[in-house]
Point group: D2
């Protein structure tokens, strides 16, 4: 492996940069997960998580990647052959759809162009058609990590309500939680799926379900076989700070510190504003380069990442290799349909202005090194925005959108 | 929380003491799990694991607790309604049995007294009865963490062979792998289940399946729904050092160091000898105290932990609370049937003579503090064994047994 | 290097075992030592140190070993040719004496047998003889790390007072501070010398001077050249949380945590009681082995370490090599006059009952392995004391002594 | 303290950013500094240091800041009243001069304007005047950390040789070692002074003297009192891997890793080239801003830091406060004569292109925020240089200069 001096810039859209305090907390002697010290920590962490999801319902923690929390959402609430309504917003929505099929569900998949979020009107129409209420669940990805496009969850909720449809509502917030404003209770979500390695600023290895009463009720009659993912035992054990099987203790220490940073030190609203601001700066850089943002609808821009279209005939794979090799910067790749067509800049997690500007500088120099046609000035445009009075206004606008 | 000076003695039978080098490796900046540095690490780790399982077959790594690897073993190889043969060796065998039922299997459960390992003759008899080969799998726990009793896996293999039965053979080595001699290939095991937090000296959060060709073949026709646990994609991606979903990167760094320590620095055979020796020393202490070892058959003594019966009328819960409070020592509790009846001394993982003697001293003083009838001299007996010429002989005998 | 599993037992009388929280604090990104975050930390640490020294006077911190703080005490207060009164309590007192000579002072060295502390009466006599007050300073080592003998500092103070002598009083507390009761102000000490790597539970690299007004006044006219060790600039800069040259920033982070543990979590009086108790347990073990404690006067027993005489004809060097090789335990060696004649057991710093019993077990088995004549039963005697009702009484007695 | 997300940018000219591997090595259990494991490490580290200093002579390590190594250079080689020739290149040269006076030496101080390095001709002239060879030593700071001006050490050596003067030659490389090419042996330096917290990428707390035979010979007759800094015992003990008093063990673990990175992984010549390149990029940014570089002679530009003059009437203190508050970036301040007049950008240690561009972006936005007159375009100019073909040529030129 070639020696590269200095800090690596990990600007994929997750796993994100883990704060040193979080890493150091993980680096503590493992304790007895049946002892009182662990119990106290569990209770603290479980309470803090509710605040992050903005819910009063239980949040369960799996020692698993986010993919596991997807599976948990399905197997706890549904039965073989159940119809579910999903929306093709990108690679991850497609993977979730594939999982649903594997687990013997019958998903209806509203097609998409990977440049737009879920269309509330289309969902409403599908639900309105479903007179017999065969559809048991509506499933949407809040922030498509593969495209940098968000779906308007509050609008989707209203669409379901307008259709007066009893389906459950499940939302994947793996790459939005603790980066983009999200409200489990207010938006009437039944199962929120999340993971540790994005806005929560932890390494991968933990994932989450926030579970509404309606979802819990559904789990009573759901027939998909389940054991590891079973909410019931988990929620029962969690009440006293325990887990039904060995939890990932050391990652939980890190979670405790991360929650403290998000909730007490920075404050969630400030966290969201910071992400909005960095996203807007990034988009200005992209426009200055003369490149195209994949997300086609400004109201659906992601504050967690920005996917950028490569000019026709230029390979994002080669471009990212050059950037990694010369500038010690990892960018996100184009996935499946977007393979070799877009690169993704992650600007989420534990991040700040100068890390962003270093990142954008790496992209700008990389474009030159890879011979990708572009104009200079992207970093300058980002700096102008971040430094200028525009920043406040821009952030305000972005949030209003 | 009361202040307790000095190192905590974590002598539950897992999670075990994590070496500082392993913790420090976990405490490294998270990297891109789609980048070349991570890929190189994956390949190294996947190769090392095969040596630990003593197999040439693939070993898959799940970002999950050991319980997840149990589930993976089942859902990859079996179909709803399949009959499986399981043996009630203790709490964990019982949990695995409960999981099989939940997952719509039809387990035959050979009853046990929680003081003996799986009886090869009983298994042979059950298989011999099964003329139609309805039993698809034989499932045994190698080392029952709840009882300190091992099952003789090689003997069980021979029993299956004598019965000329085509069932798969699945073995849980969660608390034996890298502590007690185990041979996936030689013993013809089809799926070996393991976890990170015991002999592998890591925090909890990773689990494993070693998978024979026969198990892989079975997975082609197995009908249990599966996605997260699906071997096929995992093994395909692993070939190039990748994973089908985000792996628990930072725990993998730790695994790399732990494998180096086990395979290169100490050597697996020395690791086993060390565990045998500490187990024998512990049993001598227990006998000196006049207490009874739960394991009834010396040929089935566990080298990973020793469960000790409390004298009638004395509570192990209260005893362990006193030990934790006064001596900063965590011991394992009695589980379900054994609740409040046994305590368990873990002597596995990253451990040495003086850690063991400190542990035994904590037990001996705790017995006094809790008013549990016993004789002094347990620590002395352990020291005599560890220091004496007997140690070599004793270890040799233990292994011959 | 041979592989040794498990935790090393570092039971030399310092450097001591560093708590993981302290190490993890040291393992933080280095900051600007001229910035506000550092300034806040400095003030906190400087205030906490005063409580440990039990003084209202300034405590200065040198980025240096304890040996540097010895030098600082001398060069700040004395002039070439100055007479100072020192007492040969052991190896370190002898080294300090040698340093005084090198720095052009004229020490009077009251001889000692390395088995007793400084004799207040002898000091009084020397001072009484010194009608012209040529002696500028009395210098005593509170706890002789080479012998496990303490000097009664309060008694020495009274002796000086009885002689009505104006000499400064300087005390080395390198291996006693935060382990054995010590009172800079109450005992009228002018310069207290200390280091980070013993009772303060840090790695080596910081050392300290607590400085009385009288010492500061003396520094105005002291003629020994000094620059690095100069108190004046240090104290002036410290007032605002700064240092006159780059401080050892990362060790200071560790100090902050260690002070919190000592002062807030355990409490200094509990820390002292713990050390007393472990020392008494150790002595009981030594006596049970039939070996001789070097310290000849029970009123001068050290609570930080115990030095043990080897039986005639037996080498402590060989004994310690065996102990290190077989039991992964580091013991202190015999120094200069005591070379190959005593070994030292450190029982100070971040320590507890089971760590002590593991240590004593290592000694007892090592004595057997090295063929050193002894009786068994040392560990048992220590356990009996630690577990028994005697413990409370014993500790009380030790402190009354 | 206000919460600041993301990594702090520590771009003072030292302490520098410590690589995580180095911090993690420091975060290891403290060992017995009289044991074989420590001994092996000492030998390795002492050998590696010689390569960094490019010397075959001994290099001694003090548990002390760089200021201590200054003092060691003086007290080991000189006697009270000795004349030494020093050059006022800036704040640190002035501090060293002040130290020499305090230690009873009689320094001749060639005045300077803090914008030029030491003038070889002026030194030659002073030495030529000194027919009686009263001057015992010539002392020069290789890289003035307060000004970003280097002195040409090879040229100074030639000047001394031309004057046929027998004076010792002492050089401070505290902020140049392992950042800027330096050759102890080739340039005939007698004592090289260095510290851990700059190019060696460690926290502060270690400092160094490389010592020629001539310096060692001088130490035999030098009369300044010394004990802690005494080379003789140190070098004698180091021969076998020991130290005469407790070394700063944990920092030495870090040093071992840092040496491996510098010598084996990156290679010293690549390290120097990297620093040259970043310095040139920084200067281009400064010029683009329309600001003035403090260093007046391009042949004396520092590759470790760049000091920048504030426009008349603008406060660097306020500017740096704004930069720290808004951009989480620490810059170096103006010292004494330069107070409130220059700010300093450190670009040394463990560093890379994107860290530099983030830093320069922080400066550029800070200039705007503080209302300091400047042109935009500094970051762009640096990017153009770093990305362009010019980089190779520029680096080559910088090194030829």
């Amino acid at each position: 492996m070639k020696h590269q001096s200095g800090r690596h810039f990990l600007q994929i859209p997750g796993p994100t940069n883990v704060p040193e305090r979080v890493l150091r907390a993980i680096d503590s002697a493992t304790v007895d997960h049946r002892g009182p010290e662990f119990q106290a920590m569990s209770k603290e962490v479980l309470a803090g998580l509710k605040q992050v999801f903005r819910t009063k319902s239980p949040v369960v923690i799996f020692p698993a990647s986010g993919t596991g929390a997807w599976e948990a959402a399905l197997v706890n609430t549904l039965s073989p052959g159940d119809r579910v309504l999903m929306v093709e917003t990108g690679h991850f929505a497609t993977l979730w759809h594939a999982m649903a099929k594997r687990l013997a569900l019958e998903p209806v998949f509203i097609p998409g162009d990977w440049r737009h979020g879920a269309d509330p009107a289309a969902i409403e129409a599908k639900l309105a058609e479903d007179k017999g209420h065969a559809i048991r669940s509506v499933m949407v990805v809040h922030n498509e990590t593969s495209t940098g496009v968000t779906s308007r969850i509050g609008e989707v909720r209203k669409a379901i309500d307008r259709a007066k449809h009893p389906a459950l509502f499940m939302v994947d917030t793996i790459s939005s939680l603790a980066s983009i404003d999200y409200r489990h209770d207010e938006w009437g979500v039944d199962v929120t799926v999340a993971g540790s390695q994005k806005g929560l600023m932890l390494p991968p290895g933990l994932s989450f379900n926030a579970v509404s009463d309606k979802a819990l009720a559904a789990s009573k009659s759901a027939k998909l076989p389940r054991s590891y993912w079973n909410w019931e035992e988990m929620i029962a054990a969690n009440r006293d700070g325990w887990f039904p099987y060995t939890p990932a203790t050391n990652l939980l220490y890190g979670l405790r510190v991360a929650l403290k940073m998000l909730l007490e030190e920075e404050g969630l609203d400030n966290v969201f504003r910071r992400h909005d601001r960095h996203a807007e700066a990034t988009r200005r850089a992209v426009r200055a380069w003369g490149l195209e943002i994949l997300c086609a609808n400004p109201a659906e821009y992601s504050s967690a990442l920005t996917a950028v279209l490569m000019p026709e005939g230029h390979s994002e794979i080669r471009f990212r290799e050059i950037v990694l090799d010369r500038y010690n910067l990892s960018l996100g790749s184009g996935l499946t349909k977007l393979r070799d067509k877009v690169f993704r800049i992650g600007h989420l997690g534990d991040f700040n202005d100068l890390m962003l500007l270093g990142t954008l500088a790496g992209v700008e120099m990389g474009l030159a090194a890879a011979g990708v046609p572009h104009q200079k000035g992207g970093v300058q445009a980002a700096m102008d925005y971040l430094a200028g009075g525009e920043a406040a206004r821009g952030a305000a606008k972005a949030r209003a959108a």
